[in-house]
């Protein structure tokens, strides 16, 4: 086993590939990931329906919980780690995330401003 893990450092890891190869350790990784994901999901559903927390904080809490759960999936299911053999995978992911944030953030930002600066529809009709 230790020989194999030394040999692993020779090349990069493919996305989804794991560093250690003992079956038991791999299963434990998936179990931990499943438990964390279920916990975060349950928290999300609880927060969405509860009156116990300050209401305006709920959307932020839901988004934070969703991002945390995506992180759990990436680490425990897709095995994207910060290891040196994973650099290519992380860089590709970082670029993808940048595009995602540009698209979603930019769209929401611009469209909110357009909505705020636009007169109501009936107002436009009367101007014609």
């Amino acid at each position: 086993m230790s020989d194999q893990s030394h040999a692993q450092t020779d090349h990069d890891l493919a996305p989804g590939e794991e560093e250690q190869h003992s079956v038991g350790a791999r299963i434990v990784g998936y179990v931990v990931g499943l438990a964390l994901a279920l916990l975060l999901t349950a928290t999300s559903f609880f927060v969405a329906g509860t009156d116990l927390v300050w209401q305006p904080s709920i959307p932020v809490a839901l988004i934070v919980l969703a991002i945390a759960q995506m992180g759990v999936h990436l680490v425990f299911f897709l095995h994207i780690t910060t290891g040196p053999d994973n650099t290519n995978n992380v860089l590709a992911l970082a670029f993808g995330l940048m595009v995602v944030f540009l698209v979603v953030g930019g769209t929401v930002w611009i469209m909110a401003h357009l909505n705020a600066n636009m007169p109501p529809m009936d107002h436009i009709m009367r101007m014609q």
Binding site: D10, H11, D12, L13, A14, P15, G16, E17, V23, R26, I27, Y30, V31, G33, L34, A37, L38, T41, S44, F45, V47, A48, G49, I58, P59, L62, I63, L65, A66, Q69, M70, H73, L74, F77, L78, N88, N89, A92, L93, F95, G96, V99, V100, V103, V104, T107, V108, M111
Partner: protein, 213 residues
């Protein structure tokens, strides 16, 4: 000294600069394939982000039709979420079984994954059919158009995933755990886990935020 160190590796010091650089050659096919598929998955996620952006902009434009909080059933969404989460786990078990070439656990893991995926699809299809029957189809309002395209696009991906899953089971049955079959299996596992990540965004942004607002 460099000559003795590189005996048999004529290319190790191509520019004769006295620095021996190991050139391991191109990466193994397994890594190239999985990395290429990883790039595809990221582009797929970028595509989903466009649907998310459209939904975020249009979620308030109900045109007198129903709001999200009026049509979403949280209990169904919770069942769907648990189905996809568990299927991600069993898919992981199946890929471990494929790596150790254990046919029984591979078939079992894939069969359970398939079953959970089908349960998810049935619940989603019934939700869509109910909405359309009530007159709340995708043409009712901009909000419903965005909702049906985002959630439906994810559902289409899951359907394609289920077909791919059955293909993988058939290939392992017919060809065994050959190297190319194992590479496809690895890509399938990546695809299935990525779909689960997209679903986390869907249930948080569409269903939970929609019913909270």
């Amino acid at each position: 000294m460099a000559m003795t160190a590189t005996a048999g590796h004529a290319q190790a010091d191509p520019h004769h600069i006295g620095l021996v650089i190991e050139h391991p050659g191109p990466a193994p096919k397994r890594i190239v394939t999985a990395y290429g598929f990883w790039i595809f998955l990221l582009s797929d996620i970028v595509m989903f982000s466009c649907f998310f952006a459209a939904y975020a902009v249009l979620s308030g434009q109900t045109a007198g039709g129903p709001k999200g909080s009026e049509i979403f059933d949280q209990r169904n969404v919770a069942i769907e979420t648990v189905c996809l989460l568990l299927s991600s786990f069993t898919c992981g078990m199946a890929s471990i079984a494929a790596d150790v070439r254990n046919r029984f656990w591979f078939y079992l893991g894939m069969a359970v994954t398939c079953l959970l995926g089908l349960v998810f699809l049935v619940i989603e299809f019934r939700e869509f059919a109910d909405l359309v029957a009530q007159g709340y189809g995708p043409s009712r309002s901009a909000f419903l158009t965005a909702f049906f395209s985002l959630v439906g696009c994810h559902g289409l991906h899951v359907s394609a995933g289920v077909l791919w899953l059955l293909t993988m089971m058939a290939q392992v049955f017919a060809k065994g755990f050959r190297a190319d079959v194992l590479r496809r299996m690895m890509c399938f596992a990546l695809f299935w886990h990525a779909l689960d990540i997209v679903w986390v965004g869907v249930f948080s942004v569409v269903y939970l935020l929609g019913s909270a607002a």
